[in-house]
Symmetry: C2
Subunit: 201 residues, 2 copies
Amino acid sequence: MPKIVDHDERRELIVDATWRLIERGGFERATMREIAAEAGFAHGALQRYFPNKESLLAAAFVRAHTRTNVRAGAALPTLRGLAALRELCLEIMPIDRERVQESRVVVAFWDHAVQDEELWNAHRENALHWRAQMGQFLREARDDGELVASVDDQIVIDQLTAMNAGLQIMCLLMPETTTRERLLAQLDAFLDTLRVPASVV
Amino acid sequence: MPKIVDHDERRELIVDATWRLIERGGFERATMREIAAEAGFAHGALQRYFPNKESLLAAAFVRAHTRTNVRAGAALPTLRGLAALRELCLEIMPIDRERVQESRVVVAFWDHAVQDEELWNAHRENALHWRAQMGQFLREARDDGELVASVDDQIVIDQLTAMNAGLQIMCLLMPETTTRERLLAQLDAFLDTLRVPASVV
């Protein structure tokens, strides 16, 4: 039996290979056999780590969100309020190649998550985590006097969640509308509608 | 050879069956054989209308957008400016069962459109149509003095496009956040940020 560390490393290698295949041709076209070959594993060996395609898709999705959360975790502790809200969105939005890659995996995952309870729950757990973070940042912004009084936190969270999710498909189907410059303009214009004008502070 | 009208009717029946199967279990799990059976066709007969699954997915997607545009076409001619912009968004947003069904088809389509040029173009054509309509409504709103002077039309179109797309997946994965009431609150809060306050008009 391999050591724990090897087991985890091998799982990582297989998820790497899955990401590459999703990026190249979508998750549907890849077979377990192709994924094994791409990762340099025998077909039978792959199944010791991932018994089926759903379990691989779940692992690929979890990694996309882990990457986002690791980046956010590095930046967020120094921020609060609207600056923290902006930072969290920037880590989710497809502003560079790394994040566009993550979007590709997430979009492949969505269609399956609609039909599969385990995948549905994996999405949910992460989505609720982001929503809770957004709620905290909005409360901080209110405490700090940054927020326009009439802002409804739940509405803002709904809007940002929808916008962030929509951009993950837009960067793949309408990439000319999701240049880094346009994404920043879009996010900052939205945040400006929440912010008490500088002259009033 | 069947009459043209029969040909179109049969295509419609097959697309109906495809929608039902997508709703029940996703597009991936349906085979051409199952789609034929669901539509009441022999497998060979199906292929005279749709040579492969991609062509069926394209037809299912085009119908989702046609339905949206038919509804919008009934309401839009009487409206302009921000009222027209609101109406177009309401036809796209998953505010009722009919529109949630359309979202299910669209989400199944997205993952394939990323990899398939023909499907990619089908998405694009419709997306550009909506963007052009939004641009026209924003110009009307500006002409009518409804719009805050600093509003950037392209940014608003990017924001609404992302929000509308994101809601199509949210209504499937986080349905409790996309009740009709919350969708209307979200849309109206956004439109209010564009609108010159009533007291100023």
